[in-house]
């Protein structure tokens, strides 16, 4: 009797949860559609895009450069310490660092960091506008608030692959510095490994997925901020939820794109 009661409760809860997820997915795609309708005045859009470029991209460069340099260095040290076999050429340290940084670290790891930095900023800024009726004020004026708020963020985030390019470059510099100045191999050996079996398509793959991550980074946090309900406490909740969902979607899409393009 009890088991049946709990089973029924579990079933109802599951149904409600699934229905909420499906509703949210539908609402997300409607939001994307609405974002590209009824465009805001061009001069104002230009100003907003430049402002978002500054807030989302330029202000993230510092942390991206810092993290990339040290993670690149750690990748090189870890690889060097694990290559104890004398028959394995030392140039492989450069090769492994390049592959790790270009394929995974720069696009995916940096995207997760950006989900925390940029994603929570987007959710909390839009959520605060929702709570303080600023979004209603835009709507009353006859402005498409989604276009006004989300479109400039999407355009600004299209510059994300440039951040990834910088991250790749700095990451490799970090790997070079740690391995050469740490005494693991010579500069020539590192550079030889860096150029070994280079496949340009892998760089294309990395930039393609960073572009897709950029769209996710701009839209998923915006969705959580725009449709949030409640007060300032809920803005905090929305920012946390947005970070979790953005990370989950990025990791899933990473698997999906890798399976599609590399396997």
């Amino acid at each position: 009797m009890f088991l049946f009661y709990f089973y029924q409760k579990f079933q109802k809860g599951l149904e409600r949860m699934l229905s909420n997820y499906i509703k949210s997915i539908g609402q997300y795609f409607i939001m994307i559609y609405e974002t590209f309708r009824r465009m805001t005045k061009t001069s104002e859009l230009k100003r907003l895009i430049l402002q978002e470029l500054d807030d989302l991209i330029i202000s993230s460069l510092g942390i991206v450069v810092f993290i990339s340099f040290f993670i690149g260095a750690v990748i090189a040290i870890q690889t060097a310490l694990n290559f104890s076999n004398p028959f394995v050429p030392k140039s492989l340290i450069g090769f492994a660092a390049r592959q790790s940084i270009i394929l995974e670290f720069a696009p995916t790891f940096v995207a997760i960091i950006m989900a925390g930095k940029v994603g929570s900023y987007i959710t909390s800024s839009i959520g605060t506008m929702r709570v303080s009726e600023q979004i209603d004020a835009l709507e009353v004026m006859g402005i498409n608030s989604l276009n006004y708020l989300v479109f400039p963020k999407i355009i600004a985030m299209c510059m994300f692959p440039f951040v990834i390019a910088i991250s790749m470059f700095v990451g490799i510099i970090g790997a070079y510095t740690a391995s050469v100045y740490g005494g693991f191999l010579s500069s020539e050996q590192f550079l030889a490994g860096l150029q070994e079996d280079f496949i340009p398509f892998q760089v294309f793959y990395a930039f393609l997925k960073s572009f897709i991550f950029a769209i996710i980074l701009a839209t998923v946090p915006a969705f959580h901020g725009y449709y949030m309900k409640g007060g300032s406490l809920e803005v905090g909740h929305a920012a946390t939820t947005s970070f979790v969902w953005t990370s989950v979607i990025i990791i899933f899409m990473n698997y999906f794109i890798t399976q599609l393009l590399l396997s």
Partner: protein, 254 residues
Amino acid sequence: MIKVEDLHKSFEDLEVLRGVNTTFEKGKTNLIIGQSGSGKTVFLKCLLGLFTPDEGTILYNGKAYQNFSKNEKRELSKQMGMVFQGGALFDSMTVEENVVFPLKMFTKMTKGEMKNRVEEVLDRVNLVDTNDKFPSEISGGMQKRVSIARAIVNKPNFLFCDEPNSGLDPRTASVIDNLIQEITHENDITTVINTHDMNSVFEIGENILYLENGLKAWEGNKDNIYKTDNQKLTDFVYASNLFQKVRVTQREGL
């Protein structure tokens, strides 16, 4: 003029508006009063087009909103000014940028013309030397005045105010009330104010709509509110001891 006919609005099982009929006259300050949860804000949001009514008609200058084309709806929203309860000023913009915003978005004015118009409205709401300040750097009363300036900068035909003097001291609240009334008369616009403040009712209530449980329970003006025998309205209006004494004084003709 705004005419509302048999307006209904529900949220899932909750019926908020249950057939409201009223007319908001041009050149008058029209007040909507009622207890919390009586449907005032939902009613105002229906008038603003933020909520779509389930049933009923809203006529703006004689034309039903449902019959407006998309372009006409956009034009109508440009004719509306709104003063939100919390001001709803854009945090990232200065006072001047907030006020100039509707002009930048919807007019082809030159920078000089915009500057003059902004100075004109800021002067009208008695705000000086605040142009470069951010909303967080000015007082609540000033924020309300900036909000009014932003609402009227585009010379709207309809002005909506959601509890414009909530959170303000009585003196500042009275200044805001009088300012809204003066602007209404000067520009001959239709003003609808959603309020809880009984001082506003007695000061600027040229047309008062009392909502109760989503229905119109009484309609009149500040002069005949003293004489009404509507028990629920009197319980609401004269809830405080001060207003009970005012009522006695008024009835006795003292």
